[in-house]
């Protein structure tokens, strides 16, 4: 080839090279990773009810939202939740998107079992500003990562690497409990005030609310008591004496003492009510309630001293038969009643335990006075 031709050919290759560079240049610039586009990686092993989950387990999923509850789908799959072990066995590996307007400063992590949210009991990081059951990660930077359960985060320091797995409990154990004395109380096992004199108020200081969900941020927002068996109670029923100031924060395993009160609305059958505790404890919920049944019976109590007692009845016995009253409504055995006299319809009548056949007095009713001769002091309780 002539030198001139060779020069021309080289010139063409040079031009072609320039054109190729001009065309390829912008494409290379577009694929260059920019810092804000890297996701934030969540690496976490999972412990559920004390058992470390291994391998791939489709029962458990993890979801990430911003603190307002808006989903931040996994950057790799675009799905709102990620199955355990689906990326790497024995862990969640969730890519939190960190691009554009979705770049969050804090996120909420939630774990689900077959779609039902579990309660994450981790305390560092803890619930933060997230809903109960979730934990909050803050200070997210694109390209960094957080590791739970011994998986190193990036950077590998105490803010990004946590020794504990994501630790979850099922909702059944994620609840507060109420005990009165040593007895558990709930909607089917009520707390009873027993017999309370009409016109008097009985207080119960044996009850307490306990945080059993390992949530240092459990907030009790209200505690109320109401009567359900009286249609229009006025100045009577069940009430909460204390606490009266809310909200109350309860650390895990600590308790809040309750003082409850009962003022009978009448006598007769047991009066019932409900103690309602409102708290933020249920996973994924901003308000949950726990109900405890309440019960009490209004009575009129008459103290009988040893010897003669003259009494009247302000309210009737539900069963006024003398034998029934003495066997069921007297705190001492009926054998301690020597005799009962009453002046009824212009005639003295008596009830004598040793001569019930000849005892004309068979009923104890309102409107009469009754002389009781007691060989031992006792209390007559009118229900």
């Amino acid at each position: 080839m002539e030198p001139r031709g060779l020069i021309r050919l080289c010139g063409l290759f040079f031009l072609a090279g320039l054109l190729a560079l001009a065309a390829a240049g912008p494409r290379l610039a577009q694929s260059e990773p920019s810092a804000p586009e890297y996701p934030y990686l969540l690496n976490a092993t999972l412990n559920v009810n004390g058992t470390l989950i291994t391998g791939a387990n489709t029962t458990y999923t993890v979801g990430v939202t911003d603190t307002s509850g808006n989903p931040l789908p996994d950057a790799a799959t675009g799905d709102a939740t990620l199955t355990y072990g689906s990326v790497v066995a024995g862990r969640f590996e969730y890519q939190i998107p960190m691009s554009g307007s979705t770049t969050p400063s804090a996120v909420c992590i939630s774990v689900y079992s077959s779609g039902t949210q579990l309660y994450l009991t981790n305390t560092s990081p803890g619930q933060g500003s997230c809903n109960p059951g979730s934990i909050e990660l803050t200070g997210l930077t694109a390209g960094d990562s957080t590791g739970f359960g011994g998986i190193p985060g990036e950077p590998n320091n105490s803010s990004h690497t946590f020794s504990s797995p994501l630790t979850a409990v099922t909702e059944a154990s994620a609840a507060i409990s109420v005990t009165c004395g040593s007895n558990a109380r709930n909607s089917t096992t009520p707390e009873s005030f027993g017999n309370v004199n009409l016109g008097q108020t009985a207080t119960d200081t044996t009850c307490k609310i306990t945080n059993t969900i390992a949530d240092s941020n459990l907030i009790i927002t209200n505690v109320t008591a109401s009567i359900t068996s009286a249609a229009t109670p006025t100045g009577c029923g069940f009430s909460v004496v204390s606490p009266t100031t809310f909200p109350i924060s309860l650390a895990y395993s600590t308790s809040q003492a309750l003082t409850l009160a009962f003022t009978p609305c009448g006598t007769g059958s047991a009066q019932t009510g409900a103690l309602t505790i409102t708290y933020d404890g249920a996973p994924g919920s901003s308000a949950s309630t726990y109900c405890v049944g309440l019960a009490g019976t209004g009575v009129t109590a008459i103290n009988l001293v040893s010897g003669w007692n003259l009494i009247g009845l302000a309210v009737p016995f539900s069963n006024a038969a003398v034998s029934n009253v003495l066997s069921k409504d007297l705190t001492v055995p009926a054998s301690n009643v020597s005799v009962i006299w009453a002046y009824v319809n212009g005639q003295w009548q008596y009830w004598d335990p040793n001569d019930t056949t000849g005892s004309l007095l068979q009923q104890l009713t309102t409107g009469n006075g009754y002389w009781f001769f007691m060989t031992r002091a006792g209390t007559l309780t009118i229900k």
Partner: protein, 185 residues
Amino acid sequence: MSLRLLLSAASFLAVTLLSGPCFSQGPPMVPLPYVLKARVIIDGSELTGADKSCSIRVKSVDGAEFQPVDKPGQTYGGVVPSRFQYNIPTYDATTQPAGAKAGQKACIEIYHGATRLNVTYPGRGSCPAGGGEITVLSPGDALGFAINGRPNDGLHSLPAVAATTPADPVRATAGPRSAPPVPEK
């Protein structure tokens, strides 16, 4: 001067103390009666059920019947079958001045129709002939003859009242339990 003051104070105290019980006294109350409960054996046979012709009277030893009389209790079986159950009125100056006083002797008399029977138990004591003596105890107590008294002890629970029909044929006609007179041929 000081003596006068002392006398005044003493007078005031005396009036106050004396009038105190009057002020504290409540409305008049009919006192508890003393109960007489008695099964009755007449001429060896015990009465049962109710017998309107058989009655009881309770009197003081001088023969005055205690008042007010317990009319229903006066009849055998009139209150409770197979017994006399009689409320002896207890003395009260306001409400029952003719009642019986605790510790007072009293006489029970048994009648069959118009015939007064002879009470052989309890014994006559200081009662007129035909009567049986009892002692009125405390108001609210009960004297039981063959029935539990109250208190249920030996002082209050005694054997049944026993009576016999007088032999007098005129009176005997009043009672079915006496042998009917045999007409002479």
